[in-house]
Symmetry: D2
Subunit: 361 residues, 4 copies
């Protein structure tokens, strides 16, 4: 019942604060024999790394990962894999204002209410910096599910949605927004620039698709794949909503329009005994179990709570105060969330793969 | 790592199939000394019970609960509370069609893909009948959190949303839709009647509010209150989306418009040292921890997959087939989901209350 | 973190008190497709059943088990299996004495200290009656590990040990003591008769051997097979010690005398690539992982705490009192513990089998 | 279901191999507000540290611990505490022999059978070096249970038991054997010297007493304090047996001689409403719950498997081989196990304290 662990068999535990000496993850339950080196993890961290464009925080972190255990002669041994990333750019700034007054939208007040005090430097444990540990752990998870292809990308930013007709998978890595629609990406530059210059921030919606998940992963009833994924996504900073398949839009459909009919696969389609689904309103999950279709989900991310506008608040003594959050911040946390959503998807699916083996005996 | 259990300290396990002899729940971790009798559970089951209006399935189940353990001289003992509900109206119908062909949108194909076969009678384990067990368990959970007031109600049905201006808490129990807007409730009668007569179905959105949750419940990072609630809600049949506070709408706000400013509580407001929040976009949770504001969430329910229209599908041998789902069904599963959403909220919060005590030492 | 559940993948939860209407178990995580009927469970319950000889309690319980869920057309479905056993012979006696004063050696005082009160009828939840639920659950577990042969038997009773030279596997089921040494069994009749007539009780040591466990089950470090087995055995009423292989005697050996040398298996021995071990001081486990040798463990059971001699104690108000425990009791709880030890071994091994699949990927 | 974590609320995860760059532990669930610095941990590590006398391995490890997270301004924050100890003295020796042939009594064969290969350098993950991580984690646990006094010491070494009449608590820290009987300590010098010179090894029995545990900690039935402690102790390298209170000796007592009578505490004894127990055969636990008496347990440790005598074995290809284990080894692993037994006791009790709060609501 660790509060900082996730997963049932493929399980990871993260530790570390934004301004401590380091952050890290311990991956437990990784199968033995997988080839793993730091070079397998680094590219994923680089993708999430801050300071790579003007649209994200200017904090400079090399995010160099070290593997401290669990790998021998280049392969995982089945024992815990300890991953560590040193914090380098903990800018020595004055946190006295944040220490004293609560930033609305941040975890400041809630942490103090729970624990009596908090590490206020850069948000401490509640900082999105922690997500680097997840991305590192997920790089290991990916090795356990080579059959799965996962893609996360933004489908909406600042209320501006992509045009599905313009969806191009190749575009995702070509712009700083993980945006599959080039026209939207261009528009989003202006939106984020405007927000940044105004000291404001905008929200986003990230979509994630996992292809290759075989029918059967997942389990009724309180280990439904839906539940596992929703819990995983809701653990990401700033996420306020999760939907699977058509999600909230499904609530506006009828039984007929929401159906995912099936037909036999033809020989010409490379018949492998698996059906062809004629739609995927369900997002690849029925009754908590994968159907073999792509898993599709979307998560809503609120705008960054750190803004330059003064907001009414209280201080630790309960007196009226005003606060505006100086410092380096992402004008849209949703952007850098895309690699994290992808990471959580990988972590859930690696776990499900191992669980499925145990479940069917 | 039980797949049919939920909760960390206040934990319940459900068992039973739609057409087996009985269903039930074992509640483990309930604190000792709570006054508990079957009469404390029955009203909640009655609220969820099928066949109470023409808008729900006509299956007749008295849903009489029996307490088989864990209570002595009218009080909980701290040992497992076993609750059993006998199935009475398992109509002896012909399931041969369902046994052979997969109903799209149902768990049929996924269960077979996972387990190799399935109990096809009435959906077996995947039937929403299981939710009666949750409602019974939640009745016990409610006794552990007398300080919390929970309300779940429909805010949208068949794409028709309530008017927030017409929100009347008292209306919720006065119509068969748990609808807080009387005008909407009247419109919904027609919508559900139409769907039922057409052999079709409609979706819905249920909102749930919990008042009285003290600041501090919940915990970073993988035991966030958001994650626990999302997992709980996603485990309910037909749920395809969960959002907390403004949820997906928050993705369209800016940092300023999404802020929840705070000010000191005045003496005239009964100053208890807790701040007054000037908004609740966050839905009562920040950083995974309750802020002391009402917890607010919404869940999207797809339209019932059982419809009278023929849908293209395959049979167990992989051959093309057509199926239409006869039998007694809810034209809108979202209606009877409201008491279940409420139940899951109660179950999560009872657990969080106990967890909080352990977390702060 | 259920307190009344055991196992990680193959997991069961028990409920019920000695004098409640029924007791039972919910088995979750059982693989699908196993043939299971009540007739597969009943013989194991009969073996543990009280009142079958003059050497055990005279409580008469038919211990008829009912399967309430999880089985369809004679096979397990992968969903929870609910097992229920009605209590029949809850003799309506006067418990006022036990209700008021604490029986030393029993859980009375500890339960009151923890929970504030207790179900004092027949020991309530702390009664060994609960072990019937485990035996029922284990009957299901056995189906999942047909390759394993498990035997539990008494090697010592009232301080009188068996002669290993007289060990005869066939003898175990031929006497009421599960004793593999016929001469010892004869002596034990007198020991138990004497204890019973004197209103006294005696302790025992149960040994359990599991053959056929393949090398590789178990896992370092906090899921060691040793730890899982020790936890399982220590959960049985009256158990005060567990040792694996040579156990405490190993502490008196040297590195040479405690070694378990290996040599290659010869073709004439049916070479399957597995080594021949020349000793089994380790009891089949090294580094927490099975070596392929028989798993061997022993558990120590204290004498029944219920005796007819007056013992000094206190009452609920803290006043001095005396108590002697009337009623029907086993003069040696160790006897009926043998089937329970066997059951726990089966439950652990079924779990380990499934876990191993998940662990190696 | 992490395999390398222990505890339910106060939970730690260890990582690292004997000859990797570092080892460590992540402590999750530690209450906030406890004063913690590296100086609180270091003395406990020093006590367990190798190379401090001629009776333990000559490996030289400074075992300097670093706190990487979870502490702010000198106090625990309620977030994960990451502890790291660098490995310094990984002597660059030739492991080719160990790599190829299996050392009987070690985990070599079992690891290979499970994982297909292993980190053979110094035992890799199965090395007792891992216990340094536990000792570090336990130093944190101790801060959460200041009311508890824990002492572990050897009561038997090489088959030579202490004389209880000569028990002197003060002696424990005055000799290299954690031996409370000065005369025995003198005898043990010769025993260990002889074993070391002969390239042999001896076993030991460690006893551990925890005073100050209030009545009520622990819980029936599968979270019994007995089970938690037994699992904890069995996870320690070389442990083959655990007994609580009189343990195996209790199996030779009668109900009368095993009873722990109670009487009221007199005013002159500082009456606090708690009874005086007239014996402690139960070792402070009844029905899985602490009685308020001292918790007493003993663990049996086998002789070190690493000996200089040639032992018959097989190599990785299954061929006959001989092996003798060169290198630096403890002639009696039981000696350095005492601080580890103490650590595990502290870790279990810190967990139980937090759990108890959650259990009683």
């Amino acid at each position: 019942m660790s509060f900082n662990s996730f997963g049932r068999v493929f399980r990871f535990t993260t530790w570390g604060e934004s301004h401590g000496p380091a952050i890290g993850a311990v991956v437990d339950g990784c199968p033995p024999g997988l080839e793993l080196a730091e070079a397998d993890i680094q590219p994923w961290l680089d993708k999430r790394r801050p300071g790579t464009s003007r649209f994200t925080t200017q904090r400079q972190e090399p995010d160099q990962v070290r593997i401290l255990s669990g790998v021998f002669e280049g392969r995982t041994t089945g024992t815990p894999i300890s991953l560590m990333i040193e914090n380098v750019d903990q800018r020595s700034k004055d946190y006295s204002e944040v220490a004293l007054a609560y930033r609305p939208g941040h975890a400041d007040y809630a942490y103090d209410a729970k624990y009596g005090f908090r590490d206020y430097r850069g948000g401490g444990r509640s900082s999105a910096r922690e997500t680097a540990s997840r991305v590192a752990a997920a790089a290991v998870a990916r090795l356990a599910i080579p059959e799965i292809r996962i893609r996360a990308y933004l489908v909406e930013l600042g209320g501006d949605a992509i045009d599905r007709a313009g969806f191009d998978d190749a575009a995702i890595d070509e712009n700083p927004f993980f945006c599959p629609d080039r026209a939207a990406a261009t528009r989003w530059e202006a939106i984020v620039d405007d927000a940044r210059k105004a000291g404001s921030s905008v929200g986003a919606v990230v979509e994630c698709v996992a292809e290759g998940v075989p029918a059967g992963w997942g389990a009724p009833l309180y280990a439904k794949l839906d539940s596992e994924l929703a819990a995983a996504m809701m653990s990401i900073n700033a996420v306020k909503g999760v939907e699977i398949g058509d999600g909230f839009a499904a609530a506006r459909l009828t039984g007929e329009t929401n159906a995912d009919p099936m037909r036999p696969r033809q020989e010409s389609e490379g018949n492998d005994g698996k059906p062809v689904f004629l739609a995927n309103h369900a997002g690849g999950i029925a009754g908590g179990i994968a159907t073999g279709q792509p898993i599709v989900l979307r998560v809503a991310l609120k705008p960054t709570s750190s803004i330059l506008t003064h907001v009414e608040t209280i201080d630790r003594e309960g007196n009226a105060a005003e606060i505006r959050t100086k410092g380096r911040h992402d004008p849209c946390v949703g952007i850098r969330a895309a690699p994290v959503v992808e990471a959580m998807m990988a972590l859930v699916l690696a776990d499900q793969k191992l669980l499925h083996r145990a479940q069917i005996g």
